[in-house]
């Protein structure tokens, strides 16, 4: 299997999936370019857990304050998750 990689020089090439998530050299310009990650199981598990946590926060807020509270809680928890994922 291979992963499609796009370099800043405009070249598009296939890299071995072993390199997914890592770095390879562009065959055209020779510069290091990031290889897109495949389905990283650990990362997927963390994403799933985060979604479950947001849903849990929403459920607790709904039980205590109704639909409005749940919507606000989900919005805040989702925004916090998005910010954390950007920082990582």
């Amino acid at each position: 299997m291979s992963v499609e990689v796009s370099c800043g020089c405009g070249a598009v090439f296939d890299a071995n999936d072993r390199l997914a998530g890592g770095v390879t050299n562009c065959p055209s310009c020779g510069r290091a370019v990031d290889v897109p990650g495949l389905r990283d199981p650990a990362w997927r598990a963390i994403q799933a857990l985060a979604l479950v946590a947001v849903a849990g926060v929403g459920a607790v807020a709904y039980a205590r304050g109704g639909v409005g509270a749940a919507a606000i809680a989900i919005l805040i928890a989702g925004a916090a998750l998005w910010l954390i994922s950007r920082a990582l």
């Binding site: 071995n16 072993r18 390199l19 997914a20 998530g21 890592g22 770095v23 390879t24 050299n25 020779g30 510069r31 290091a32 990650g37 990283d40 650990a42 990362w43 963390i46 990582l88």
Partner: protein
């Protein structure tokens, strides 16, 4: 380049609460490298700079995956913006004795890093680092390329890297391997 010197010492602060930082000194105690790692970073990304001002990046070492039993780290020469190789931890072997493979830019093995002896490695695991680690870097033909010796010091982690004269292995890969050992292996203890 800074890391082409034959002997250098990596000194890491043990008592840093969050993250980690280390300095690399040449034999005349001149700083030839500095790295400060962020805490709570999911995917390992080690940047080594020429000095503490962090104005000149010399090497970057990036993990391919968030969590990986046989983790692979790509080593990039920042000044050339070119991948020079990678280091891959041998997961099962490292349970008993730390073992890494050094790969070239095409992921072909060019050398290996191993702890000095299996018996000492086992003793270290039971005696909690009372016996300092020593690693050897050997080429695929078995020739000794470098020796990485950790000093006995409970407060400061110090590793001296001694490259053998006339070796063929890219000194940047030796440097990258030593930095990884200092940053990753030590943290796992």
């Amino acid at each position: 380049m800074e890391f082409e010197t034959d002997t250098y010492t990596i000194r890491r602060k043990v008592l840093k609460i969050f993250g980690a930082s280390f300095h690399v000194f040449d034999p005349s105690r001149r700083v030839i490298g500095f790295s400060s790692q962020k805490a709570f970073k999911l995917k390992e990304d080690i940047r080594v700079y020429a000095d503490e001002s962090k104005s000149k990046e010399i090497l970057s070492i990036r993990a391919r995956h968030v969590i990986d039993f046989s983790a692979a780290y790509d080593i990039v020469d920042a000044s050339e913006q070119r991948k020079i190789g990678a280091a891959r931890r041998k997961g099962w072997s490292s349970l008993v004795r730390d073992s890494w493979e050094i790969l070239d830019a095409s992921d072909r093995p060019v050398a290996k890093i191993t702890e000095d002896s299996a018996l000492k490695a086992l003793l270290r695991r039971f005696l909690s680092n009372l016996i300092p680690q020593t690693f050897h870097i050997e080429g695929t033909d078995g020739s000794r390329q470098a020796t990485l010796r950790v000093h006995f010091n409970p407060f400061v982690y110090k590793m001296t890297v001694q490259r053998e004269p006339g070796t063929t292995l890219d000194p940047r890969l030796v440097f990258g391997g030593a930095v990884l050992l200092a940053a990753i292996e030590q943290r796992q203890r």
